[in-house]
Subunit: 330 residues, 2 copies
Amino acid sequence: MKKLINAVGDVVPDTLRGMAAAHPSLRVDVENRIVLRASGPTSGKVGLVSGGGSGHEPLHAGFVGFGMLDAACPGEVFTSPVPDQMIEATKAVDGGAGVLHIVKNYTGDVLNFEMAAELCADEGARVLSVLVDDDVAVRDSTYTAGRRGTGATVFVEKMAGALAEQGAPLEAVAAMARTVDDRSRSFGVAFSAGTVPAAGKPTFDLGPAEIELGIGIHGEPGRSRERFREARELVRLAMDALNTDLPFSGDVLVMVNGMGATPLMELYVAYGEVDAYLREKGATATRCLVGNYVTSLDMAGFSITTCLLDAELTSLWDHPVETPGLRWGR
Amino acid sequence: MKKLINAVGDVVPDTLRGMAAAHPSLRVDVENRIVLRASGPTSGKVGLVSGGGSGHEPLHAGFVGFGMLDAACPGEVFTSPVPDQMIEATKAVDGGAGVLHIVKNYTGDVLNFEMAAELCADEGARVLSVLVDDDVAVRDSTYTAGRRGTGATVFVEKMAGALAEQGAPLEAVAAMARTVDDRSRSFGVAFSAGTVPAAGKPTFDLGPAEIELGIGIHGEPGRSRERFREARELVRLAMDALNTDLPFSGDVLVMVNGMGATPLMELYVAYGEVDAYLREKGATATRCLVGNYVTSLDMAGFSITTCLLDAELTSLWDHPVETPGLRWGR
């Protein structure tokens, strides 16, 4: 295992120390594993808290900042953070307008965020939660009851974050987060597995011409193992899966996401195919992200996430954002 | 070879088609392989043109936009673009204040850009060139006479681009580009080789616990093959090489760059070590980039590029930039 790390047990704190050094816009509590905006809670604004296992960077800590999250709670690699982190983060970002928890649908994350929300409520905080469950590949998986939460998390954090920044109340921000999740779908394809540092070997094995269709972001099995094919066909397989679940129409936000070890060049090749596919279906990719946003350590492969836009969602997408992982237009 | 591509011969045009679809801020001439700002030449502004082999994305096409390049000329993978592309690009971006060619020091790129500049001058254009040669690993290499041009290209394009945007004359923009190159140094480390699509197999072989110190961005040999070590030691080896060549002092701009297959998490771990190293030397990392900026297809590994800042350079670094690969603050 050749990883650019120190001791296996120090990966998460070392990552956080690096983020703290790199981004003065963040306040990073390395010991308690909480990443906050350095500017502190925004008075009168709904606070947004997310979190999940590490290894998916820039998700979530890279999306802390103006227009997106107020706090992120990173767990160990591919492991849920604990309620104490979530409670501390919730308290730290509460600017008096309540706090929204954005939770990817994995059993551990769901349980821990539920416990944290209850304990915060007991202390008088107003907390709502929204579950992200956009991955159409499988209904249940190793880590989940129901659909897995993957790429749509970026869309939910961005658009709910924009609405919160505009001063909307907690219920409206939560409703928008649910709307974005409802309109979003994801599908992933793995070319090779990532290696969890503590395990020291790849999560699964694929033959030299084999791929996993519908891969999960922790390397969970997808729908099937298939022979490798050209980008056009792989994109079509993924887009067909999305279109079957929620047919494309109108304006579409697209993310072509690298799993960690896929070059940007190849992601652009795939994006060209996505764009062509949508045209064929009479839809239009009006907004996009092409790059590494929800990674799976050093997995090679890609995922496609789409969201059916309307005027309001487009405007929230275009709202200024200023985070290490995503920024434009302020 | 599992690459997210269609036919091997279509990689570059397919990439450009994807970029065109993804970024309406760019005007992409897929046939002639030129990437321009959609807004056209900026009247009275010095035009900045760069280019080089493909496979290093987002370099260079991803750095076309406000505050950085006016045009990029992508060659085939790891192959210089041809003079015709450079001539077309130079004409297209000339807003009446002359054009600067930013050329990474590889024999093919240098010859072709020289030829293009001469032919443009024959037609009455004012063209200056600046050579980027920041890689301290080796003096000559497979592709170069003298030092290789690598990560400092991003710094040169950014800071010369900012000065051009502020209306400085051609000579001043060229001088600034040279200053940035003079103050910048790079060193790369490979964990595994990338695969050129047309070759179909990795450029070189490394053992399971072996690394290449001083790797070039095309997989050219570096200084030595060594055993794999923890991040702290690898960063120290790289930083020692930089510090020996140009001792660190004062404010330093740092890029911790992924070669294509290295997760962001690990780059942050490395950045933490870079930050600590500079403190030890009495210098301070006041600005940074952590991510994939000058990649080598799917090579695993990292490079560190540093630039000794002063007030003017810091101000140029902070100048707004709006490109697919880099953006802030407009």
